[in-house]
């Protein structure tokens, strides 16, 4: 597995070098705003980890998407390819700009069902929002969705997810939206609301807007909240693009981040992943960390603090790798069904237990 700077990943030599080093391996990876390796944040390079299993088999699936409307079908295709009785879990990566992450995840979970854990994230870029790359036994490319399935009874997944963002202000109603494009809140253009809250920062565009994600929930299930971060301001039609669906009729509240609360959120995610780990017969574990680009934009130079605190919770026997994403795929709260999230830190711990 690898994660890296998009512009560096464009160079075919990097893929060839990796393949040459591991000719028999299944190789999957994507571009990220930043990459994570242990406590370090990598901006310009590539980070990679090689996994070897004694009693676990892996399989890779990939699909190409040319427009967002194909996302659900791509998810179903991946699910169809990877599904098996002994499927334990799936780590999935998808183009963060050309793939509709909500539809893709829905297609995938529809095929896989409630048993195996489905986690992963949406590839990202250096916040120019132009192109993201995913690779699966091929050079990383745009429009790609890919997943690796882990099979057998020896592999154990544990998972944690936390946000640390706080909802504030009045509850608003999503009165006009289409998929992941939000037009109106309470009958007024959503962009106008963001313009007011961003103030002078509006000139910084979407990088500033992600500081105010939305906490949305269906009207009949207010506890089933999902965070949605803007990834595109005024798109010419008056709509704002979010990293996930913002369904019409749902309730929305603005959120804001506090650095200390975000950092504690990462610790919480790590704690959840650690608590569920099997206590006996385990070998080395790998923590796959997918954290939202919006968190990095808010935390700035303090971003590594969330890696440090999560690492301290996970313990020294856990190797850590991951990336900052345009959306995190993980189970909903109190559910085994995965969905797309924003502004969260998700940590998935993999460990292969002995006999």
């Amino acid at each position: 597995m690898y994660f890296g700077n998009r512009d560096v990943l464009r160079c075919a030599d990097r893929s060839n070098e990796l393949r040459a080093a591991y000719p028999e391996a299944k190789i999957i990876g994507c571009s990220g705003t930043r990459s994570i390796v242990d406590n370090t944040l990598e901006e310009d390079g590539i980070v990679a980890v090689a996994l070897g299993f004694a009693r676990t088999s892996v399989r890779i699936a990939r699909a190409q998407v040319t427009e967002p409307s194909q996302s659900r079908a791509a998810g179903e295709e991946i699910g169809q390819t990877l599904f098996a009785k002994d499927l334990a879990g799936i780590f999935v990566l998808a183009d963060g700009l050309r793939v509709d992450g909500t539809d893709f995840t829905a297609g995938l979970t529809h095929r896989i069902g409630p048993g195996p854990l489905i986690v992963g994230g949406m590839a990202s870029d250096p916040c120019d929002y132009l192109e993201t790359l995913v690779g699966a036994d091929c050079e990383p490319r745009s429009g790609m969705v890919a997943a690796v399935g882990f099979y057998g009874t020896a592999i154990r997944f544990t998972h944690g997810r936390a946000s640390g963002w706080d909802a504030f202000g009045p509850r608003r109603h999503i009165t006009r939206s289409n998929g992941n494009v939000l037009y109106d809140l309470d009958g007024k253009p959503a962009f106008e609301l963001y313009q007011r809250y961003l103030g002078e920062e509006v000139s910084a565009g979407v990088s500033a807007a992600v500081m105010f994600p939305l906490l949305i929930s269906p009207p009949d299930r207010p506890e089933q909240t999902v965070v949605r971060a803007p990834i595109g301001l005024e798109n010419g039609t008056g709509g704002m693009t979010f990293a996930g669906h913002v369904p019409q009729g749902w309730t929305a509240r603005l959120m804001r981040g506090n650095l200390d609360r975000l950092i504690l959120g990462a610790a919480d995610a790590a704690r959840q992943a650690r608590v569920e780990q099997p206590m006996s017969g385990r070998g080395e574990s790998l923590a796959l960390m997918v954290s939202c680009t919006g968190r990095h934009l808010l935390m700035g130079q303090r971003t590594e603090e969330e890696l440090e605190i999560a690492g301290a919770e996970l313990g020294s026997e856990s190797k850590r790798i991951g990336f900052y994403s345009f959306g995190e795929i993980a189970p909903l709260a109190d559910s085994s069904i995965s969905d797309l999230h924003n502004q969260t830190m998700t940590i998935t711990s993999l460990v292969e237990v002995g006999d």
Binding site: G199, M211, Q301, R302
Partner: protein, 233 residues
Amino acid sequence: MHRLLERQIVRATGPSGELDLDSLLRLVDAAYVESDQERDRTDRATLLTCEEMDQLNEELRYLAHHDALTGLPNRLAFAQFALRAVQRAKQGESLAVLLIDLDRFKAVNDTLGHAIGDELLREVAARLRATVRGGDELARMGGDEFAVIQFGGEQPESTEILARRLVQRLSSPYSIQGHQMNVGACVGAALAGPDVQDVDLLLRDADLALYRAKHEGRCTWRIFERQLTISEE
């Protein structure tokens, strides 16, 4: 903060182990900018949220005290008007409460539908606004019932004039969405002076007068007199 500085020093240290002071200062400056931006963002969000919540409170207060269909003050608002009016009456100001009930409104609703009925109520409210003086209070009590608190003037002459005018204005023909209709109104009034006891009694007297007016026929007005109580009881 020292952890941040440690990381900045690591970043500003080259492969040879030499600290690049300019790089370090740039990182420190950037960290201050990030911190200032976060504080400004928080301050702005707090201020805007307070403004929004204040505005929402105002809207809620308005909705709680007004009738959504006609925009007139509602029964709750009228109760507050009446309490204040009784206080003014006790201090010597003359006033009257007039209750207004439309005739044949139910027939309009039943035969032409609620949309026409709603439009009729809006037209009635407009005529009431045009009839009642600026200093007086006007409210929709619910359904086809309205109320006015009239302040000042010689009593009972002022109230008689207003009651007669209300009946006349509301009984003029209406033209709504191509439908011509005649809907009358009855008015019952109660006068209040310094000896007024409480709001409930005043409203009860006005209600009795309205009952008598409706009993006597459409497009009628009556002012409460003591013998009304006796005869109704």
